[in-house]
Symmetry: D2
Subunit: 335 residues, 4 copies
Amino acid sequence: MIRIGIIGFGYWGPNLVRNFSLVDGCSIKIVSDLRKDRLDLLKRQYPGVATVNLSDNVINNKNIDAVVVATPVSSHFDLASAALSHGKHVLIEKPMATSVAEAKMLIDLAKKQKKILMVDHTFLYAGAVQKIKSLIDKNELGNINYFDSTRINLGLFQKDVNVLWDLAPHDISIFSYLFNKNPLSVQAIGVSHLKNGIEDVAYLTLRYRSDLIAHFNCSWSSPIKIRMMLIGGDKKMIVYNDMEPTEKVKVYDSGYILKTDEDKRKILVDYRVGDIFIPKVEIREALFEMAKDFIKSINAGSDPISNGALGLKVVKILEMSQKSIKQHGREIPFK
Amino acid sequence: MIRIGIIGFGYWGPNLVRNFSLVDGCSIKIVSDLRKDRLDLLKRQYPGVATVNLSDNVINNKNIDAVVVATPVSSHFDLASAALSHGKHVLIEKPMATSVAEAKMLIDLAKKQKKILMVDHTFLYAGAVQKIKSLIDKNELGNINYFDSTRINLGLFQKDVNVLWDLAPHDISIFSYLFNKNPLSVQAIGVSHLKNGIEDVAYLTLRYRSDLIAHFNCSWSSPIKIRMMLIGGDKKMIVYNDMEPTEKVKVYDSGYILKTDEDKRKILVDYRVGDIFIPKVEIREALFEMAKDFIKSINAGSDPISNGALGLKVVKILEMSQKSIKQHGREIPFK
Amino acid sequence: MIRIGIIGFGYWGPNLVRNFSLVDGCSIKIVSDLRKDRLDLLKRQYPGVATVNLSDNVINNKNIDAVVVATPVSSHFDLASAALSHGKHVLIEKPMATSVAEAKMLIDLAKKQKKILMVDHTFLYAGAVQKIKSLIDKNELGNINYFDSTRINLGLFQKDVNVLWDLAPHDISIFSYLFNKNPLSVQAIGVSHLKNGIEDVAYLTLRYRSDLIAHFNCSWSSPIKIRMMLIGGDKKMIVYNDMEPTEKVKVYDSGYILKTDEDKRKILVDYRVGDIFIPKVEIREALFEMAKDFIKSINAGSDPISNGALGLKVVKILEMSQKSIKQHGREIPFK
Amino acid sequence: MIRIGIIGFGYWGPNLVRNFSLVDGCSIKIVSDLRKDRLDLLKRQYPGVATVNLSDNVINNKNIDAVVVATPVSSHFDLASAALSHGKHVLIEKPMATSVAEAKMLIDLAKKQKKILMVDHTFLYAGAVQKIKSLIDKNELGNINYFDSTRINLGLFQKDVNVLWDLAPHDISIFSYLFNKNPLSVQAIGVSHLKNGIEDVAYLTLRYRSDLIAHFNCSWSSPIKIRMMLIGGDKKMIVYNDMEPTEKVKVYDSGYILKTDEDKRKILVDYRVGDIFIPKVEIREALFEMAKDFIKSINAGSDPISNGALGLKVVKILEMSQKSIKQHGREIPFK
């Protein structure tokens, strides 16, 4: 039985508690938060869980095997490194850390301590992403030509990080998981409409070998909520619309090769070349699957899907994007 | 009665013929096309219109007052300058020309000849665009912070121009019409998946004073057709979805100013801050309105909405975008 | 070359003229309409077509082989029977006539005169309907359990016929074509909100053997336009949404047989049991195909898809529905 | 502090426990269910709640003030009447009982015992329904002409009740709440495709004075999930689409009065007569509001919104619908 301590019971904390409380083989023993009202709320629903104000009481706790860090990103490094140093397995909310240097130190420390270090990139465990992963792994799409993601809504303007650090980790982690290669370069453009230097609208572009391009449109200033990814292969293309309740993943023929004039005429009429297929996607709570993977990895001593290396890649791309934004979109080589 | 000659009866030609034949105060006298089967098709529906193979027979025609150039873009300059030289009013399909130099020469020639020079940026005449223009002119949106346009579909891969030259003229002309300022800079990123140097996926960014940013996502390689523009003001925001049959324009509160914690909590729940308004938009064929504006401008000697200056600006931005694409997205100052 | 005369150039007339002018093997010679402005409009676009005020000049015309009757329904019988009597083939707009008695007389007269009698149930020729027909004919759906159609919008309140006579002919003809059986009974419910005895909201139900039920929801008083049919078979089900630009027909697993508790649990989560398939549908103008079928049938002496017998069945169901409405939905046996 | 006991921890039970545990002024003391695994699940998340197998231990419990009956409908009467007899306030899942006779006895018993009797018609507390109620109460819609509801999905085929008893209580309770009148008559049509006499597809029609008609389309056999209500007034009309994440309620002009021919022409083009308005709707968990109303009513001795009288009306309409279905849709007067 893995005994879990959770640091931070804010926006995401209740979801973590609810899901870990349902996973077999683990038990939430203690939760810390500086705010009394948050702990009161927890007590009400989970009277069996101990509550404390200070995170030290979680980290130092002898009866805890694993620590979940669900605090603002600026505190991730300190809390995670302390927990690893005390011999705990660690799960960190995304993004993993505020810099590549921090992320690397955490990975090294986990290796040295022989503990699991995992990042909560929840979406990797969504049924839709798993379905797309299996289609790509079976080479149904052929060579991948582009990835185009839009994640925009009217959002809370964060005070410490820009919109890419806030929203793009989802898309970068998904694409990095689907397509396990390093980009050649990173470039980003963004503007801040609050005049505080924190971009609320930003566009990120990654280039890969073979003319693969990945583009991410992120905004806190959109009146409508869009969660849409297009993945274009030369055989098939996928539209993943996460706002759709049940038809999240649609698979289309690519139609790059239009041989005859008749083909050309047809495409002008309805912009379609073939049948469309909407696979049945496992509907499940992604966070529950993520929690299971954490416990499973601890027990097996194996690497989780959402491991430190993936978390590091996300942080590295974000760090480079920030550099590029400040240089008006200059292309920064990824090395 | 303005007597019209049309050069080119390809994809767009039938629409031009149908609409000009319905406009009061003009009459289509002659149409030229090199292809016999196209002229046969025309004859069948419009037996009263003369047909010829050579464009010279339109341009030199003494009984013609105005010439419509509906041929591939590479021939626009030669045909339009010849027609202007022969004292004809000229309407050119978009984009106006293949270079800024050509576009400027046409404007100068029209000025010298005292003839109307108009570019068929049809969308400016759409009911939705006219409605948005009136909302902006009444300052309903407040300061405009961003413009974000997506125009993607599975398209015919053009052989001579890239996807920006093909699709972006619509969006650039709309935004230039709505927001009558010059950008500070142009930058663009694109890739060619057909390995022929002609980009099929491209992203264009324009920067303006006061942190206004305009971003255009254009693709011939999308399995689905999207025609969506977001226009963000600090008071109101607009979503213009041209694929919606009747609810094309939606107006939202901006919600930049979230004063209380309660406001913040609410926005996390449904990402909305206020009521939404869907104005009734005049449903009309934009091309018919464009044709009327051409005839009206000839008769009044006045400037049409879609005039040469607007056409030139579109060509200038396209020309700069091409330069930027070849330099991997370098920011090019607009001067 | 079949020489065509058209009676009536109102709302639908221009579509008929445009399409017949594109069909090989026929030629529109003359069009009649009582309104001068309608004929002027025609003249402008089709100077080669003769125009007359009186329908007699079409019906008596020696140089005409076939007559298209595109007038209000109350005049269909007189015009069509006169045209048949003069030895013309006849195409009538839907619905064919105002009563079963009239429809039968027309069928008898056409038989006696050995002329083609066709009704313009345009939708039968739509790519989506043809695709559904082919799926049903291949028994992809299994036994058909229900047909549920919604055809509602904010409409012109007709002065002479109720909403069922106006809108339901589309759905009745489609269903009768797809499922070529007679109903056991007809019942209908409707109300008139204009207090003139003409129902603007009505519901029609047809029962067939084996518990097949067809239900039609028709309204002129809906603020939104819906054109949706559900066809439920015990193997597959179809959703035909005519408002969708390209994904009109979707094919679903039926999921009637849920064997395990796990199956039951799953369906509660996302109400789906399998993959969804969106076949490519031929995009074509249905009216053009209808026009071709008329000419083809005349030339071959064969029965068109949208023949008199189908037109009669539609009228019979409408006539019975009216009787049922006036008796508050009493079930009327179809005999 | 109201002490609550809950009978039944099946599909809906966890939602009840979660919401009542968050309502101020009450505390869940005990939950009964015959199934051990259900109680184990409860224990895991709510170790502070007592669990028992037999409902008697809840009903007889001296330390309980109020009982929530969340069991199959056939047991509602016995459990609720026992609880009332033991002096408990009672909340019953919908529908309230299996017959009008039972429902009336429960109402009489609650009156005699001076206890609150409430039915969990959750939807009455949804933000969208509350918004529509306020629009109707302010007479924004004018006279109501029709109510048209579609509630269809691929569903679990119930073994004891038909699709109307299963799904229509939502719509009947909403409409009864919005429009507080008794119908003149009830009629219903339905078919059973499982050949067990339990209808899986059914249509229910209620008639009211002044030609108001309410129609309910309910199905367990639809491949897609639809939750849509149209409410037509002579001034405004409402579309309530519960599948929309944020734009659930849209308000339209009615456009019954089309005075000019120009008006008529326009409506043929886009079927719209005016602007559309999407009010901001309070996003909240309806079940939480329902739970609050139960506690508030107990404390104040006042009638809840979803009271016994409303529950009775729903049962009465269902009972009559069943009678009508068996008589093939005969109109049954409501008395």
